[in-house]
Structures are given as C-alpha cells and as structure tokens.
C-alpha cells in the first residue's frame, strides 16, 4: 500500500511533469501527442470533480438550514436557486442542447445571473474610487511619487490634459509624459516582476516534479 499511496503519485507527477516540459522543446509526435492527451485527460478529471463541488454545496448549506444556523434563510434561497437551475437545465431545456440560444436555461442565465454579475462588477467603480482616495494620500516619499505619477498619467490620458499643455513644446506636454511613464518605468517594473514570477513558477514546478514539495499528498504525520 505504501507504494500506491506514497511512491506512485510522486512518480506519476514526475513523469507527467517531465513529459510536459519536454513537449515544449520537442515537437515530435512521440512526445507532443502524449502530452496533449494528458492535458485532455486533465480536462475530463476536472469536469468529473464538479459532482463533488455540487455535493459539497448541498451538504454545507443543507446542514445550515437543517440546524437553523445563523442566516439560514439565505441558504434556502441558494439551494432553491441551484436546484431550480439544475431542473431547468436537465429537464426543460432540450437535454444536451441546454446551452443553445432560446432555451429556458439560457433565458434564466441571461436574465437572472448576468444582471447580478454586472451589478457586482459595477461595484468596482466605487471601490476604485475609495482605494484611490487612500492610495493618493501623501504620507511618505513613495506615496508622493505614486500620487504625482498617477496624476500625470490620469490627466495626460484625457483630452483636458492635452488641452492644458497644447501650447507648450512637445517634450513638456502631459500626454508625452504620461506615455513615457507607461512605456518605460512602468513596463520595466512589470517585466521585472514577470521575470521573477516566471523563475518562481519554474522553481515550484521543479520542486513538485522532484517530489520535494508534495503537499498535494496526504502524508501520515500523526
């Protein structure tokens, strides 16, 4: 049992990990095709996991309702919505074509879920305003630089910024400054972070492939 519980997952991870890396460098079908097949398998495995997810939603919220825990009426709404959408999808929307245009499932999704989603997304406008208000309070030199840079970029990207400095020589115009800030210092910082993150990805991947980092396995630590 030890082999199946401890060694087999590590070996499988290592073999699949190495194969996937090799497929990036080696386009030959003997390497690339199995790697592609494995990636397709991953999609199938992930899809089968949704049953677990739905079961967990039912269990966690069903228990809350049954035991009348705090806010249990909301859980009834959640469960009713979930079961209602499942019934509409399974039995009232043309079987496997439930995602087609004009089905009851699509109607419910477009007219109930999509507006709620848009509402959540719209909240972002207010949150950006409140976050910006805090971010631009000049308390330190760093915050001051941030506020100045933000001011230049924001004003430089709108017509009034162009209008304000249109009579100045080109190097002194706000849109030019805004573009320079975005194209040079901002891009340099972004690429620096991206290179660091890329190395982090490679290091983490190598640790997993080598079996050094295997927290994904349940180990007997008792």
């Amino acid at each position: 049992m030890s082999f199946f519980k401890q060694h087999l997952p590590v070996w499988l991870t290592a073999i699949i990990g190495v194969l996937t890396i090799l497929s990036f460098f080696m386009p030959h079908p003997l390497i690339a095709d199995p790697a592609e097949t494995l990636q397709n398998w991953a999609i199938v495995i992930v899809a089968s996991g949704y049953v677990l997810g739905a079961a967990n939603v039912l269990k966690v919220n069903g228990e809350d309702v049954a035991r009348r825990r705090t806010n249990w009426p909301y859980k009834i709404v959640l469960l009713a919505s979930m079961i209602g959408m499942m019934i509409i999808g399974f039995f009232m929307s043309g079987g496997t074509h439930f995602l087609d245009a004009g089905t009851k499932f699509t109607w419910a999704y477009n007219n109930l879920y999509v507006p709620m989603q848009a509402t959540m997304f719209a909240l972002l406008a207010f949150f950006i305003a409140s976050a910006a208000f805090r971010a631009f309070r000049i308390r330190t030199i760093d915050a001051g630089l941030l506020a100045i840079a933000a001011l230049i970029v924001m004003i430089g990207r709108v017509p009034i910024g162009q209008w304000l400095t249109k009579d100045l020589p080109e190097p002194w115009q706000l849109p030019v400054w805004a573009s320079w800030l975005l194209e040079w210092p901002q891009n340099a910082a972004k690429r620096g972070i991206a290179i660091g993150a890329g190395l982090g990805v490679m290091a983490t991947g190598l640790r997993i492939i080598l079996g050094i980092e295997r927290n994904y396995m349940r180990e007997d630590k008792s």
Partner: protein, 412 residues
Amino acid sequence: MPFMAARDSRLRPTFATMRPRLPIPALAGALLALVLWAGVACAQDSLATIQLLAPAPAPPTGVTANDVANDKGRALAISWTASAAEKTNSVLVYRILRADAPEGPFAVIDSVAAGTTSKTDETVTAGHAYWYRVAAVGPGGEGLSTETAAGHPTAQWFNSTRLSVFLITLLFFAFVLGFILFAQTGKSMFVRRIPGIDAIEEAIGRATEMGRSVLYVPGINDIDDIQTMASLTILETVAKMTAKYETPIIVPTNYPVVFTLAQEMVKNGFVAAGRPDAYDPNSVRYVTTEQFAYVAAVNGIMLRDKPAANIYLGAFFAESLLLAETGFATKAIQVAGTAQVAQLPFFVVACDYTLIGEELYAAGAYLSKEPRLLGSLKGSDLMKAVLILIIVVGCVLETAGYKGFTNFMATQ
C-alpha cells in the same frame, strides 16, 4: 335620395359601357421575364465569348513544397512564383492540387486569392510523400503549372528556435539542484526576510486574540495554475497555525479540484499541529466557478462572519479589489499575494501586506524552513543574477548594432 340614386346609376359603368381591359400586370411580368431571359442568354454568350477570346492565364512557376521546420511533421509550406498574367489582372485565384504520386491523380485541396504566392498545407501526415501543382484561374480558364513539387513532411525532435530557453532552463535546474544538494549537507543558508509572509502569523495571532476566524482565499484559478498550487502549499502552514492557536479557518474555493486539495491541505495542517479532531470538514467549502458569484459569496462571509484576518494568495483578476476593499471595510488585517501584475496595485493599496510576484512562490519554502526548499530559493536568486547579466549584455550588443544575440534569444 332619388337624386342620389340617379347620380349613382349614372356614374356606375354598366357592362355595355365597359371596354375590354388589357391584363397589364401579366403582360409586364411576361415582358420582364423575357428581358431577363435575354439578358442571361446574352451574358452566357458574352462569357463564352470572353472565354473564347481571353486566353487562360499563364501558369505559376517555381512551385516548391518544403517541410515546415520545428513542427510535428504535419505541415508543408507550398510556394510558387506568381503567374505572369497577374500583371494584367487576369488571375482570380490560385488552386493548389495535391497527389500521392508524381503522375497523379491531382485533386484540389485549397485555393487562395490572386496575389498570394504561398500556402501551408496542414492536412498532411509525417513520413508520407506528396506532390503538388498550382493552377492560376482566370476568366479565360485555368493555367496549370507543368512542374510538380514533391514534399516530405518530417517531424522534428527539437524546436531549434527554443534552444536559448532550453539552455537557460537547464542552467536554472542545475542551480536549483546544486543548492538543494548543498542544503542537504546541513549548512545554513541566508534567506532575506519577507515581511508579507511574516505578517501571516501576526494576522492569525490577531484573529486568535479577537476570537474571530481567519479567511483564506486561494485565488480564482484552477489547479493547473501554478499560483494555485503555491497557494495551497501555504494553506497547509496557515491551517497548522490556526490549529495550533485554536482559531477557526474558512476556505471558500471556486474549483472542485482545488476544493478537494484544499480539504487535504487543511486536514494535513491540523494533523501536523497534533489536533486532527479539531478539523472541521465544512471549513473548506466549494462555492462556484463563476467569478462574481464567488466574490459575492466571499464578501458575504466577510460581512456576516467578520473574520479578523483575510489572506488572499493565488491568481486574482477583477475581483481583487472587490475582495480587498470589502475586507478593508470590515477592518480585518489583510495579507495578499499574486503574480498577476495588473492586480498587484489593487492589493498594495487595499491590503496591509502584499507578496509581490515571486514572493508568492517563495512563501511555501520560507514558511516551512525546509532546507531543500530554501535551496531552491537560492537557485532562483542566482538565476536572477544571470538573467540580469544577459539583459545587460543584450542591451550593450543591441546598442552596438550586433543583432545575433537578440535573434538567438528570440523564440517562436
């Protein structure tokens, strides 16, 4: 009324006064049909005349079929020299014909507009030979190339355009393995302090003091994102701390596989802390894969349960600020970390501590203090130094007008 009746009878035409009417609509329709028939007949005659008068365009020349480099052997690049008739705009399309033998039979596999002189055939099989001819088609007919081009698609073992990446990857792996071996000798290694990671324990401690829970959000991507893997690694250590301090932890997840793994991580953490009995299976819950529905659920947890510490580690997108600002409103201590560059500013603004890019990947090793994991961090640091050197050398050579190094580093 009699007057009206008389007037009506006078105005109403009788059968005797009616003249025989011509069926004008029917005649007009017939006339139109005649004109159309005549037009079509004339057009056909004209076309036939054009075809008789205009010669077929000159065939394209110089047809070649070359294997596409660095691929699986499932493509051939067909190219030809344009027909001389293109100068007089007498070519409409080029038809590409293929056969399995030099003598044919050739069948049309594709066509491209006039002016095009190449096409990649992606319907071939590696190891088979194919023969191609190209025909220029115009109003005067079809000019088929006399020459036949043979092509042999071949699968390559190595993508030569990725040689630079391959060498750098090998070097990086060598560094990491070298430092891991060095770590196994028992010698201590210095790893700089990362305040954001240190703050995680501080946040959990604060939640413990306040008697409230810890909220852990492992990003909104599936397990195929390495950020999610890194986040789950940290989750185990966080769960261990919460188990040690007897503080409840809530982990809402948005993908079923992440949910299953998160359950394992939290359970492992409780076992490692010696309190497996305190593990609550409902502490890790699946919510939904829908981005904003997930945000609504997590924000609801924040507003109702009021966790004292919110930890956001993983891949985040537009929801980053929605989560962090709601957490800020609940006065929770917040630690965030992501490699999504576009979301970092939002976390920096709204959270108390932020792990930037690679710090997220380093957090697992940093928290575990395991020598082999710390060794991999040192390997990454050394590779960063090498990359900085490569960038500087590349800038100098590019400035000096030498393009070879830049071309070598470019990949496809």
